[in-house]
């Protein structure tokens, strides 16, 4: 309650309206850049310790931007989406077809970026062994026109070591100190890493953490 009073007094305007307008730079017919594709007021964002729920948010997977739509902000009768300033976002959750996805900005030192660069990532598991998903888009010229294609990559950051998960081999490499046990668990649970969804990989990571007593 006090938190709300504080927010109302200190930040009385729409806290999400903090940033520049968003200009669509792609052809929506031939590109998939924004997730979820259909904006609905089902997302949430944590700003200055306050959770704003049931708001319309989309994540630009090419430019790594969080886009907010306030239906009341219309210029020339057009809704003007706003890029929420990254500095104030603590985390946000989007309702994706695969279920709710919680994103947070992860920083990697520029000289040690390696596989990952500083950006928003979906955080599936946290702690010593993190399972994250990179939602991104790449630019491609298709039939003479520019198109943006959406893709996801899964990563495990175990004790600071980043491994891209593409199959069983890379998963066992990421969890190498318990590889035998993890392999047995995959077999027991009939998990095919290449085709596994994020919940299945999460189960594997949770099992690994149990083995490590973490």
């Amino acid at each position: 309650m006090l938190q709300d009073i504080y927010q109302d007094v200190l930040h009385p305007s729409d806290a999400l309206l903090h940033g520049r307008e968003y200009k669509v730079y792609f052809d929506p017919m031939h590109s998939k850049v924004l997730i979820p594709e259909n904006p609905n007021p089902t997302a949430s964002v944590l700003i200055r310790n306050k959770m704003y729920q049931n708001v319309i948010l989309q994540y630009d997977t090419y430019k790594d931007l969080l886009v907010y739509q306030n239906l009341n902000i219309r210029i020339n009768n057009l809704i003007t989406p706003v890029i929420i300033n990254r500095n104030i976002i603590e985390e946000f959750t989007l309702q994706l077809p695969s279920g709710p996805a919680r994103f947070r900005y992860l920083s990697f030192p520029e000289d040690q970026e390696g596989l990952l660069s500083s950006a928003f990532y979906e955080i599936v598991t946290e702690g010593v062994c993190q399972f994250i998903i990179d939602h991104s888009a790449f630019r491609k010229v298709e039939e003479g026109r520019v198109a943006y294609k959406y893709k996801t990559e899964r990563y495990i950051i175990n004790a600071g070591v980043i491994t891209r998960i593409r199959g069983k081999k890379s998963l066992l490499k990421a969890l190498t100190d318990e590889a035998a046990e993890v392999s047995a668990y995959l077999k027991r649970s009939n998990i095919l890493v290449k085709r596994a969804d994020k919940e299945q990989i999460k189960d594997v990571v949770d099992h690994y953490l149990t083995l490590k007593h973490l």
Binding site: I5, V9, L10, S13, H18, R20, N72, N85
Partner: protein, 591 residues
């Protein structure tokens, strides 16, 4: 500039109105209207603090090292409610002689300050509170008395007594432990060490059943004559009133981010509040850190400041056509001293000889400390970020061939910006980023982070003084306002290049959060350091306000002894996440 109206919930509520409306309902027992504000819940909104210092007795010119623990309503468990703690050192007459605004984002924090050599000898009172605690009686603040000796001023006011000193009595026991559920143990290799010798200490924290505890500890190792009170116990020191008294009015908000800068904007012509005026807070400097607020019916405004150090603030209406005004800032510190003040200082005759030595130590340290730490480069400043984050265009003037004027630079180099002249005045316009057209409204024009609308003056800044120009050629939303583009001129000095406002503006230096102050002590790991001719006469050998035991209850630290031989006190105090507290006092001899 375009004002956006009715596009968001604009809550122009007087703080007092909000708090009184919400909280007084509760105090009147109307819990049914606001179930979340039951008396029980409000109890939880109370917070308390516990102050620790590295010792009790100081010589002027020395540093006072402070740790503050934030505790919950019952004063039992570490808590993390307010993020700013105010610490003041009060003289016996109640006058503040030192004031700190400490940013404490976690459950405990630390600070330090140097005792001015203008202070008189005597007892002084340290008091700590948060903005939220100012709603409750000052007796709920946290207090600690420290003694200060100024050997360079008359010491007639110091009383001397001949008695069995506490310290002498303590000396019969090598170790004294107080515990309220937290048992601390410290193991040294030995209790006697040589000068400039490494001392390794292992600490274990257990509860009364012997289970390991993850505790938040502070460690202080000082000359024994400077440590006269071992009664420190977190729970004994917590002052709490019996609860929230009916009728208590909450006028101060908790500071949940940084310092709340609040005040009133009043008209210069009739002293009336400037209602519903959109005003901007800017901080003079290379980074644009602007905030916008719409004043309420009382002309009140509230900004959050999380900057540290002394900052030059400018508060002005966004619309320069608004008439003359003046700003009254609310004082940050509590101005009343409605609690007991410290009594006179009385020293034991038994420590006078040792005191003489620590006074000499202080003088040697103050002379030689700069040489001890000259090898350590200061921490590089983290660059401040503009409120608009990355600009669309960043034009570094030195990257281009020298031009004569800023007007030329804008015409030839800066994309999306143009200068137009209308009725003898110059205006800047920003392209809309889509076609070749400009926005319909003027952009936000900043010079060194400050809103400045006299474009002719900007264009007359000498180009040699200008470092870079940043441009955002998109609409920008800030605290409910929309600007059609941003142009930011940044000078090499970052001090507005002598520009003068045509109208009166509020421009004032303001002490924001206190800068961090870290305890440093020399290391003698290699022989060259050990044989260094620079004397080391620290009276506080070691101070660590943030030592944490691990899950197994263990932790450790190491430090080096100094050149002064004698008896030192090791004092460790801590609290567990469950609120169990304890302390440990131990002797250490340097021969």
């Amino acid at each position: 500039m375009t004002w956006i109206t009715n596009m968001h919930k604009c809550v122009n509520i007087s703080l007092k109105t909000v708090l009184l409306r919400s909280i007084c309902l509760l105090f009147l027992g109307l819990e049914c209207l606001h179930p979340a504000f039951s008396q029980d819940n409000l109890q939880h909104l109370k917070e308390s603090l516990y102050l620790q210092t590295d010792r009790n007795l100081y010589i002027v010119g020395e540093q006072v090292w402070i740790k503050v623990n934030k505790l919950d309503a019952q004063g039992k468990k570490p808590d993390n409610f307010s993020k700013v703690v105010y610490i003041e050192l009060l003289s016996k007459s109640g006058q503040p002689v030192n004031q700190l605004k400490l940013h404490v984002p976690d459950k405990s924090g630390s600070a330090g300050f140097t005792l001015s050599d203008t202070l008189s000898s005597g007892n002084y009172l340290l008091r700590a509170y948060t903005n939220w605690m100012k709603n409750f009686p000052a007796t709920d603040f946290s207090f600690k008395t420290i003694s200060v000796i100024n050997p360079f001023k008359s010491m007639e006011e110091i009383g001397v007594k001949r008695s069995i000193p506490v310290l002498e009595a303590k000396n019969t026991s090598p170790e004294i432990r107080t515990d309220k559920g937290l048992v601390l143990e410290a193991k040294f290799d030995t209790t006697t060490f040589g000068t400039r010798e490494r001392v390794k200490v292992n600490i274990q924290a257990r509860d009364s059943k012997g289970n390991p505890v993850e505790a938040d500890l502070s460690v202080s190792i000082v000359r024994s004559c400077l440590f006269q009170d071992i009664r420190g116990n977190i729970h004994d020191a917590v002052h709490l009133s019996g609860g929230v008294e009916p009728g208590v009015q909450a006028s101060y908000l908790p500071e949940l981010e940084g310092v709340i800068l609040s005040g009133k904007m009043l008209s210069s012509t009739n002293n009336q509040p400037m209602k519903n005026e959109v005003i901007m807070l800017s901080i003079v400097g290379k980074a644009a850190r602007c905030q916008v607020y719409r004043t309420n019916d009382m002309g009140e405004f509230y900004f959050n400041l999380d900057d540290s150090g002394v900052q030059e603030l400018v508060i002005q209406p966004v619309d320069s056509a608004v008439g003359d005004y003046f700003v009254e800032l609310e004082p940050d510190f509590y101005s009343a001293y409605d609690h007991p003040l410290p009594g006179p200082l009385t020293l034991d005759t038994t420590i006078l000889r040792a005191l003489n030595q620590v006074i000499i130590n202080m003088q040697i340290e103050n002379i030689y400390q700069p040489y001890q730490f000259h090898k350590h480069s200061p921490n590089p400043d983290t660059p401040e970020i503009d409120f608009y984050s990355e600009p669309e265009y960043h034009i570094l003037i030195s990257d281009y061939i020298p031009l004569k004027t800023i007007r030329e630079v804008i015409k030839e180099i800066v994309p999306a910006v143009s200068v137009r002249v209308k009725e003898g005045r110059s205006y800047l316009w920003v392209g809309n980023g889509v076609d070749d057209l400009h926005f319909n409204n003027k952009p936000l024009v900043l010079v060194d982070g400050v809103l400045f609308d006299d474009v002719d003056q900007i264009l007359n800044i000498r180009l040699t003084e200008l470092e870079y120009i940043e441009v955002i050629n998109l609409r920008y939303f800030l605290d409910g306002l929309m600007f059609e583009g941003i142009i930011h001129f940044v000078t090499k000095e970052g001090s507005m290049a002598g520009l003068e406002f045509h109208h009166a503006v509020f421009r004032q230096a303001y002490a924001a959060l206190s800068e961090e102050f870290f305890f440093r002590s020399p290391g003698y790991s290699d022989d060259s350091d050990k044989s260094s001719p620079i004397p080391d006469f620290r009276n506080t050998l070691y101070w660590n306000p943030g030592l944490q035991t691990r899950e197994d209850g263990h932790t450790g630290f190491e430090f080096y002894t100094a050149d002064d031989r004698g008896e030192y006190i090791v004092f460790i105090e801590g609290i567990s996440p469950e609120g169990k507290s304890g302390s440990l006092y131990k002797k250490l001899i340097v021969q």
